[in-house]
Amino acid sequence: MPPDAATTRPARRNGAEEHRLDDEVLLFVPSSEQAFTLNRSAVAIWELCDGIRTIEEITEELGQCIGRSRTALLTDVIQGVTRLYELGLLELR
């Protein structure tokens, strides 16, 4: 079941090492010795997941940055957050 966009506040898990390469990011999780690459869209979501903003607020901010409506973006942001959560990179508060 997808997270509730109005109340869920995704937060980056501690411990992942971030390396920015061009407009992408390599995340390395030492505890699992796993590496992940985030493309530009995933990076934009990742950077806003501070445990304070809700998914709706993240969508709002992204929309302002790239000039798209919240309605148009919300599904993509929910999918992105869900994927990062499934990879163990985010916790949902």
């Binding site: 090492e17 390396h19 390469l21 061009d22 992408e24 390395f28 030492p30 590496a35 985030l38």
Partner: protein, 293 residues
């Protein structure tokens, strides 16, 4: 000439072969001529006449066609065939050199150099590294390795580890996993003039993939993905520690990286040869797709 009596035993004088990498040697002692001969074939460009700084000694004994390796190696074998023992020796030597030089990052990769820069081909077995490296060397590139590349992380130079290149027989077929494990490679003779003798700066990273029927195509690989690939194919990343990740990211950020899909090794090699022109003047330059059918 009279035949030897049935209970006669023949004695062969044991001999020691020394394999050298960066002034470190692994000594392999055996009275089994076929083992030492196979080892010398595998490491022909790395055999030296004597050991001055031996880091590991392995002893191979033979009993009625079965072989045993003793010595400090993780690849123990007690009752193996000649193929088994040669495979174990191959990995034991690599392991010993890795332990002797933990300051280097060790990759499952092949490399060849031209114009003072090396192309690294990284990937698991069956991706076509050897075929492509041998092809590049046939076009005048110098040979560093087809399977093992140590990298000096400080200078980003690839260090030659010139195992005798071994090309898979019958390339051009789909390769099931069990077939990849079988000993179906043939050694390709090295000419001494075609060997790269010194560490070379890395000019490009390539991640090849053999795909049945695929046109030869080089496409840019984003730096973050290249860094993740480097991590995946680095054998001693965990031992090297946190600094390794930074070094690999630096390398991926500075050096162009490409995915290469192909089914025809000659066409793929031609594409790689074109990179010679691209990587020589300015590493990190624009990355374009290149394709050929």
């Amino acid at each position: 000439m009279s035949a030897a009596p049935p209970d006669a035993r023949t004695a062969t004088v044991p001999r020691t072969v020394y394999i050298e990498f960066e002034e470190h040697q692994v000594a392999v002692r055996s009275d089994a001529h076929e083992v030492l001969s196979g080892l010398e074939g595998m490491y022909s460009a790395m055999v030296v006449p004597e050991g001055t700084h031996v880091v590991r000694t392995l002893v191979v004994s033979s009993h009625g066609g079965a072989y045993r390796i003793t010595g400090d190696t993780a690849f123990q074998i007690a009752d193996g065939s000649l193929t088994d023992v040669l495979r174990c020796l191959r990995f034991s030597v690599i392991q010993a050199m890795m332990q002797a030089r933990p300051d280097l990052l060790w990759f499952h990769a092949g490399a060849a150099a031209a114009d003072g820069r090396a192309i690294l081909l990284l990937g698991p077995r069956g991706r076509g590294k050897s075929t492509l490296i041998v092809g590049l060397c046939a076009r005048g590139w110098t040979y560093l390795s087809d399977d093992v590349i140590p990298l000096n992380p400080t200078s980003s130079r690839a260090v030659p580890f010139p195992l005798t290149p071994a090309r898979r027989e019958f390339p051009g077929q789909e390769m099931p996993a069990d077939w990849l494990r079988s000993p179906n490679k043939v050694d390709v003779p090295l000419s001494s003039g075609g060997l790269c003798r010194h560490p070379v700066p890395v000019g490009a990273l390539v991640f090849p993939r053999y795909r049945m029927g695929a046109p030869a195509r080089l496409s840019p690989c984003p730096a973050a993905e290249a860094a993740a690939e480097l991590l995946q194919h680095c054998w001693n990343f965990a031992e090297y520690g946190k600094a390794a990740l930074r070094r690999l990211c630096d390398l991926a950020a500075r050096v162009p990286a490409y995915h290469l899909s192909f089914s025809n090794g000659d066409l793929a090699t031609e594409l790689l040869a074109l990179l010679r022109l691209r990587v020589a003047p300015s590493p990190g330059g624009k990355r374009d797709s290149v394709g050929a059918r």
